[in-house]
Amino acid sequence: MPDHHLIWNTEAECLPREQIERLQLERLLQTLQLVSNNVPCYQHKFKGCGFKPGDLKTLDDIQHLPFTSKEDLRLNYPYGMFAVPMRDVVRIHSSSGTTGKPTVVGYTKRDISTWTELVARFMTAAGVTREDIVHIAFGYGLFTGAFGLHYGSEAIGASVIPISGGNTDKQIMIMQDYRSSALVCTPSYGLTIADRLEKKGIDPASLALRVGLFGAEPWSEQMRCELETRLGIIATDNYGLSEIMGPGVAGDCRLKRGMHLAEDHFIFEIIDPDTGQVLPKGSKGELVITSLTKQAFPMIRYRTRDITRIHYDHCDCGRTLARMEKTCGRTDDMLIIKGVNVFPTQIEEVLLQIEGCQPHYQLIVDRVNNSDQLEVQVEVNEHIFFDEMKRQRQFVTEAEKRLATVLGVSAKVKLVEPSSIVRHEGKASRVIDKRKQ
């Protein structure tokens, strides 16, 4: 039986599959109509492949539609992809422009209320209630993370502390004094907070924290265990991207068996990133998302570049929505080393399995004598430092052996001094690829 206290919108989140699919088809047709009337980029794309909105008969026909890529968004910078006039747009957000121009996204009033609803869903699924004090340590600004969680918390009726990012000592003081019970930040910042608590000798049990809602970067199950043990919380994952909406696209329920996808508002496909072919259900590949209810910034088959897998089997929480696995990296984070695909998160997982090892690491990839070399720099700490060279070398050899087994390619482990790897209070950048320089 579904536990209705933990489900925000029972009607929408527990729909039988046939009804989900019927709703998806209906809404997809409306969206296709909207974009072919109002977005030149889609008019052009549809014309190019001879597609008319009326040609779509079943949900499977979606695979005949062209993809939308980050490049399309750049070419239409800033407002070219908007499907409504600016007078109907009430909010602008934008993604970080690390590789050129940022991408700009817009929301109508209804888009903001859909966003609020979807965030309230996953926050409720994580166990947040009106009794909670939600500590939002995402940066407020053009980034969607903070605002999304802010709206969701308020919809639930929880009390929001919009502390924003940075200044860890102040964050901790506020957690202690204001009794924050739910923490919202990136998982790597969650660990930064845990480190600082440890350093200051503050027992996490003395805080009121009970749940963490982590997102905005890929993280592993081992990192979840570490956050849960070191902060004394339940650590939940949520997924979203500004091009689609921001947080709220998917989120963990308390069973943590994958993030439930908001299938009544989006269609999710898994494709082979090389060929663009849709893969059979249950395959691992690149996630592609089509929006179904967005007005200002509808997206057709947007290539997220995130690698994951979708599960359609029953979840005991009562939700019928399919679940996506934690993303295991992005197609653009993926390293090809000696022809083998390697994701930074795989390396993180191996390191965290080693007793005492903390996820402070950096990957250096280089090409020496025409052969790729992977070096994993790991910060030493007192749990993995020994006075005997024999044991210290054993540690390094063991780590190298485990990495080779999991990655299928050899890696050299180099121990470095603590705090020598640059810390990121926002998104972590783990890779230095010297082959590109």
Binding site: N381, E382, F386, M389, Q392
Partner: protein, 143 residues
């Protein structure tokens, strides 16, 4: 019987050793003996100092990774074959030496060698039984 030794992780780059001794010097901690084991990437610096607790705390404050281990200081006759006689005793009793290094100062007419054993208590028992003099921790740092 036992002596506290501190070990420090040092990346193999110039100036790090100087920084460790600088931090200790500024804190007025005196180094009594040291040994460095290194690879091409990193080194392990082992130190006997006059105030281990203070050394640990000032090094941790400067973000060094440090550990504390128990070693023993053994008086060795300062003549040819002096060390050999002690190693023979250990060998005959299957006591494995992890590493050892010499103390700078002498204790009377004897040299002092710092030993790190896997099983310290067993090693102490064997050495005492064979009439070897083990120096007291307090005495060692005041030599």
């Amino acid at each position: 019987m036992k002596v506290e030794q501190i070990s420090v992780f040092i990346e193999n780059k110039s100036g790090r050793l100087a920084e460790v001794s600088g931090v200790l010097g500024d804190a007025n901690v005196n180094i009594r003996a040291l040994s460095l084991a290194d690879t091409s990437d990193f080194g392990i610096l082992r130190l006997i100092v006059d105030d281990s607790e203070k050394a640990l705390s000032v090094l941790r404050d400067k973000h060094f990774t440090v550990n504390k281990t128990e070693v023993i200081g053994v008086e060795v006759p300062d003549r040819p074959g002096g060390l050999s006689s002690i190693l023979k005793i250990l060998d005959n009793n299957q006591i494995n030496v992890e590493y050892m290094y010499a103390f700078v100062e002498r204790s009377g007419s004897n040299a002092v060698i710092i030993f790190r054993f896997d099983n310290v208590d067993q090693a102490i028992a064997v050495l005492l039984k064979n009439g070897v003099n083990i120096l007291d921790g307090k005495k060692i740092i005041s030599i």
